[in-house]
């Protein structure tokens, strides 16, 4: 099977010199959901920002057969839909409908097409009634769903979600799990929430100090690194 995303030896250094990524290799195959786990500052978010060209480092990033370079950015950003951690920063238009239509309009759709796609995306996330509302008036869960609709309206082939369960209560998290299950796209999910990761991901990659040091099922990672909240920690944990 041809990988949707291929990353080879990705290195990235911030302006102040800190090495954020130290040679990352990664593959994403169609239809699968991969969780990116690891401590704060290990490079997970920095890594995903390379997948749609928001950051560019040394090494190779290939998305759907296209190398991520300045020339291909528009096309790459059509393929990869990135959901940021803070929905407020992603819902920047005055109304929900205008925001969800932003993606299609930027891609060159006519206003009618854009509106149609926006309404379809809102229906997919269950927010049809919120179309005319201002983002400020939405609850945290609704904001998360509206932001997701904005990403889905662009009809990406790959979904990348950065800490999607932040600000969500347990019901909101359950709804999100159900929703993600209904989406056919391949997904990469950066998360600290191991229970959530276990519920949605087929496999996981563990980041530490800018490198992926292990890949496997979520349960494997939990066992090897003690990567679970104290009460849920499995018995045989290395120290």
């Amino acid at each position: 099977m041809q990988a949707l995303i291929q990353v080879r030896n990705l290195r990235f250094r911030y302006e102040d010199g800190t090495l954020a990524l130290d040679g990352v290799d990664f593959d994403l195959y169609p239809g699968e959901t991969v969780a990116l786990l690891g401590p704060n500052g290990s490079g997970k978010t920095t890594f995903v920002l390379h997948l749609n060209g928001l950051l560019s480092g040394e090494g190779q990033v290939i998305v759907c057969g296209l190398e991520v370079t300045k020339r291909n950015l528009a096309e790459v950003r059509r393929k990869v839909g990135l959901l940021f951690q803070d929905p407020d920063e992603q819902l920047f238009m005055p109304t929900v409908l205008q925001d969800v239509a932003f993606g299609p309009l930027s891609q060159g759709c006519t206003p009618e097409q854009a509106q149609a796609r926006a309404r379809a995306a809102l229906a997919q996330v269950g927010l049809v009634d919120a179309a005319g509302k201002a983002p400020y008036h939405l609850s945290a869960g609704e904001k998360r769903r509206a932001a997701l609709a904005g990403v889905l309206a662009g009809q990406p082939e790959i979904l990348v979600l950065d800490e999607p369960t932040t600000y969500l209560d347990p019901w909101g998290q359950t709804d999100l799990i159900t929703l993600l299950g209904s989406l056919p796209q391949a997904k990469i999910i950066v998360t600290h929430d191991v229970l959530f990761a276990a519920a949605v991901a087929d496999r996981a990659a563990f980041f530490q100090k800018g490198r992926i040091i292990a890949q496997g099922s979520v349960a494997d990672i939990q066992r090897r690194f003690g990567w679970a909240p104290p009460a849920a920690r499995p018995a045989n944990r290395p120290d």
Binding site: L49, N52, L54, A74, R77, R78, G81, L82, F84, D86, D88, E89, Q90, F92, M93, P94, T95, Q98, A101, F102, G103, L105, S106, Q107, P111, A114, Q115, G132, A134, P135, Y136, H137, G150, V151, G154
Partner: protein, 243 residues
């Protein structure tokens, strides 16, 4: 919160809500200009302008008490001016100042109470206001309450650590604390702006914000425009001919 009420009014429905934003802007400006240009404020004309305002409130199905109360915001400033004008011996003029300020505020409230802000702003672009400026206003309004809430939280956090505003003795520590809060807020705003820009890029932003064109004007819109501007012009003429 103040804006929440206005927002709620704006999401209502009435004949006035349904009118095109551009037409409403034009009628408002005509009203304000006519009001400002009637120097002598002949009593019948005052009644005329007030009647137009009352009619608009009715047509927009807005709460009378709410609108009249909110328009009172101009009272302090206009009141001081009125007082001094009256003390200076120009009683009629003083009353004119008060009436004009108040009715102007009512008129603006009717506009804002029957049109959601984004619609008002896109109407302005069609009327010739530079798009860049309108977009800045749009983004400002979007994040105004987000950052204000953040400022509120920071103030509460500082207060719960013993910071009191308004001491009598000079308070350099309090001043430094306020500067710290403001600086942190500033940095947060800059980081947010960068994050928003990134989010725009991630969804395919190419450098030019595409906005949807407003729908065409209807016959009702044109009638409203004619009636509104005509009434205001008529009152102005009447005041200048008979005042």
């Amino acid at each position: 919160m103040h804006h929440a009420t206005l927002d709620q009014w704006a999401r209502g429905s009435s004949a006035l809500h349904r009118r095109d934003a551009r037409v409403k802007w034009l009628v408002l400006v005509a009203y304000l200009a006519a009001l400002s240009a009637t120097r002598s404020l002949f009593p019948m004309c005052v009644l005329g302008f007030a009647a137009l305002a009352a009619g608009a409130i009715r047509l927009g199905r807005l709460p009378f008490a709410g609108v009249l109360a909110r328009a009172g915001v101009v009272a302090p400033f206009a009141g001081v001016i009125t007082l001094f004008t009256w003390l200076g011996g120009e009683g009629g003029r003083a009353l004119a100042v008060l009436v004009r300020s108040y009715l102007s505020a009512v008129a603006v409230l009717v506009l804002v109470g029957t049109t959601p802000l984004p619609t008002l702003l896109s109407g302005l672009t069609s009327l010739g206001v530079p798009r860049f400026l309108v977009l800045v206003v749009q983004f400002l309004y979007r994040y105004l309450f987000v950052l204000s809430e953040q400022a509120q939280h920071m103030r509460l956090a500082a207060a719960s650590r013993g910071w009191q505003a308004g001491r009598w003795r000079p308070d350099p520590a309090g001043f430094r604390a306020a500067a710290g809060v403001a600086a942190a807020l500033f940095l947060s705003s800059q980081a947010k702006a960068q994050a928003v820009h990134r989010a725009m890029l991630a969804r395919g932003f190419q450098g030019r914000l595409v906005t949807l064109a407003p729908p065409a004007l209807s016959i009702a819109d044109l009638w409203f425009l004619a009636a509104g501007v005509g009434a205001c012009a008529g009152l102005w003429l009447a005041a200048n001919l008979f005042g």
